[in-house]
């Protein structure tokens, strides 16, 4: 079955702390991988995505994610978080196609203490 697991439901950090949010997926075949973010009161928006090539993907606002195929993981990282990073983060997997449904994880709520 296709699924995405996000290990942390709620993460609380102080500003300037380093961040790593875990994500594991189960999906047959080649995949596209995504991290989406939802800031308070805003739409879901794409943070970064991986299709092929370099397994270390850089996204907006200093975020990056590493695809480890052997572990079926796609963890999100940021070396130094800011208060403005407070949001809900969703890991997701999509099929090997230009258009396909996306399977989302249940999300991780990130709270940053100023």
């Amino acid at each position: 079955a296709q699924s995405v697991s996000q290990h942390n439901h709620h993460v609380i950090l102080s500003e300037a702390a380093s961040l790593e949010l875990g994500c594991n997926y189960s999906y047959g075949g080649t995949v596209n991988l995504f991290w989406y973010v939802q800031y308070p009161g805003q739409h879901l928006q794409l943070l970064l995505k991986y299709f092929s090539g370099d397994p270390l993907v850089k996204g907006i606002k200093g975020f990056e994610a590493e695809f480890i195929k052997s572990k079926f993981s796609f963890n999100l990282r940021k070396p130094s978080v800011q208060w403005s990073d407070t949001a809900e983060y969703f890991c997701a997997v999509g099929g090997y196609s230009s258009a396909s449904k996306i399977i989302f994880g249940s999300g991780t709520r990130l709270s940053i203490r100023p």
């Binding site: 739409h43 928006q45 969703f90 997701a92 196609s97 258009a99 396909s100 996306i102 989302f104």
Partner: protein, 118 residues
């Protein structure tokens, strides 16, 4: 440019009633998706259109749910005989469809319609 728009932003209805939720995709986007997000969960896929036709409706939970996209642009999600369990935020997304093998085009999400069934 304009993003994906959804109307209404909020809809309160009574159990057993019929509702329609509308999605206006980004102009020129041929692929359109509907997702449902319950409290504390990630979005859950419902249906995806390529042009006017439903390319994948495997996520529709039962036959009370139906969606159309008659002219390949605006889409309407229709829910008959609503139940309290249908309460959720219904999200619409759209994407271009380029013929690049395997690479999935970015889906752009709308603000959602919050449906409350009393």
């Amino acid at each position: 440019g304009a993003g994906v728009s959804q109307t209404p932003s909020n809809k309160v209805t009574e159990k057993g009633k019929y509702v329609e939720l509308r999605c206006d995709p980004i102009s020129g986007h041929t692929a359109l998706y509907w997702y449902r997000q319950s409290l504390g969960q990630g979005p859950e896929f419902l249906i995806y259109f390529q042009g006017t036709g439903a390319a994948d409706d495997s996520g529709l939970p039962n036959d009370r749910f139906f969606a159309v996209r008659p002219e390949g642009s605006v889409s309407t999600l229709k829910i008959q005989r609503t139940e309290r369990g249908d309460s959720a935020v219904y999200l619409c997304a759209s994407s271009e469809r380029r013929l690049a093998g395997g690479y999935q085009d970015t889906q752009y999400f709308g603000p959602g319609t919050r449906l409350t069934v009393l």
